[in-house]
């Protein structure tokens, strides 16, 4: 289903979804979106799903810096005696 095929409030909600989840909408814009989500279970679920997908991406990439590299960075730090005048 394309954006154009949705009812106007749903199409608007879809266009606003990424900005909403990223928390960059104005207070007024947030209010418009949330009014719609309160009455539209489909869009509300899509929004929750989007937030879930973001979490999955973060978790998939949640890999700590390897200990050997961390130790190497410390050595690089200790060995660096100079200041680069920029």
């Amino acid at each position: 289903m394309s954006t154009q095929a949705r009812p106007a409030p749903c199409a608007h909600a879809e266009r606003s979804m990424q900005s909403y989840v990223d928390r960059v909408l104005s207070v007024d814009e947030v209010e418009v979106v949330e009014r719609h989500l309160a009455v539209c279970p489909t869009c509300a679920k899509c929004y929750r799903f989007e937030a879930g997908v973001r979490n999955v991406v973060r978790q998939a990439c949640d890999e700590p810096c390897p200990d050997a590299l961390r130790a190497q960075l410390r050595r690089i730090c200790d060995d660096c005696d100079c200041d680069e005048i920029s």
């Binding site: 289903m1 394309s2 954006t3 879809e14 979804m17 990424q18 900005s19 990223d22 960059v24 279970p41 489909t42 679920k45 899509c46 929750r48 799903f49 989007e50 879930g52 997908v53 973001r54 979490n55 999955v56 991406v57 973060r58 978790q59 998939a60 990439c61 949640d62 890999e63 700590p64 810096c65 390897p66 590299l69 961390r70 190497q72 960075l73 410390r74 690089i76 730090c77 200790d78 660096c80 005696d81 100079c82 200041d83 680069e84 005048i85 920029s86």
Partner: protein
């Protein structure tokens, strides 16, 4: 280019306010700048964040290790150009990004193309999302392997924006500063990149279920 402004001890001072003195090559005692010690610890504490971003900007583990080492070496050399109080993570990621770009130029990679994108609700619908669906169960169907593959296959200009904002926790403006592109470009690349990602995940996950 050695510049004997300060010398550094190989051991860190135990308490703030105290720092070791060393005899420099020219025989003159030169104290280490305490601000440098503060910077070092702040920068090293961000190693996990820098590593996560480097892993997704490069194609393999070794390249990511090299990139992070190179970035930290440059950061320690040019630490004076970092302004305390500003976002150090963004500052480090800018160095990382610039080095990654230099490396990519050396390899003379062809300009990368964006894959097919679908609309924002596409993945949800492909997974069978409807008004009675359990959203948490749909999210659980997405596994880490395909997510990493989809991210890895995303064209670099789009991947780096997604990585900086979603993994590096940068604001749109900070990502724009790191990449030296307008905020509007960050937003459009971010949104399109995420759509391509979701399209790839939809294709993979729905195929797996079929």
């Amino acid at each position: 280019m050695p510049c004997p402004v300060a010398t550094k001890a190989t051991t860190r001072p135990a308490a703030a306010g105290w720092y070791p003195r060393q005899v420099a090559d020219d025989g003159v005692d030169a104290p280490i700048d305490p601000a440098r010690l503060v910077f070092d610890e702040q920068a090293l504490a961000l190693a996990d964040d820098v590593w996560r971003v480097a892993r997704r900007l490069t194609r393999d583990y070794q390249a990511a290790e090299d990139l992070v080492q190179e970035a930290y070496a440059r950061a320690f050399r040019s630490w004076r150009s970092y302004e305390q109080g500003t976002n150090l993570r963004a500052w480090l990621l800018r160095i990382l990004h610039n080095l990654a770009i230099d490396n990519a130029r050396k390899k003379q990679r062809a300009p990368e193309q964006l894959g097919l994108e679908a609309d924002d609700y596409y993945l949800y619908e492909r997974l069978g999302g409807d008004p009675v669906a359990d959203v948490d169960l749909l999210v659980e169907r997405l596994s880490p392997g395909p997510v990493l593959d989809a991210l890895g296959n995303l064209a670099l200009p789009f991947r780096e924006v997604v990585v900086l904002v979603d993994l590096g926790d940068l604001s749109y403006q900070e990502a724009a500063n790191v990449l030296d592109i307008p905020v509007g470009t960050v937003m459009s690349r971010l949104h399109r990149g995420r759509r391509v990602l979701k399209k790839a995940l939809a294709d993979h996950t729905a195929e797996g279920a079929a």
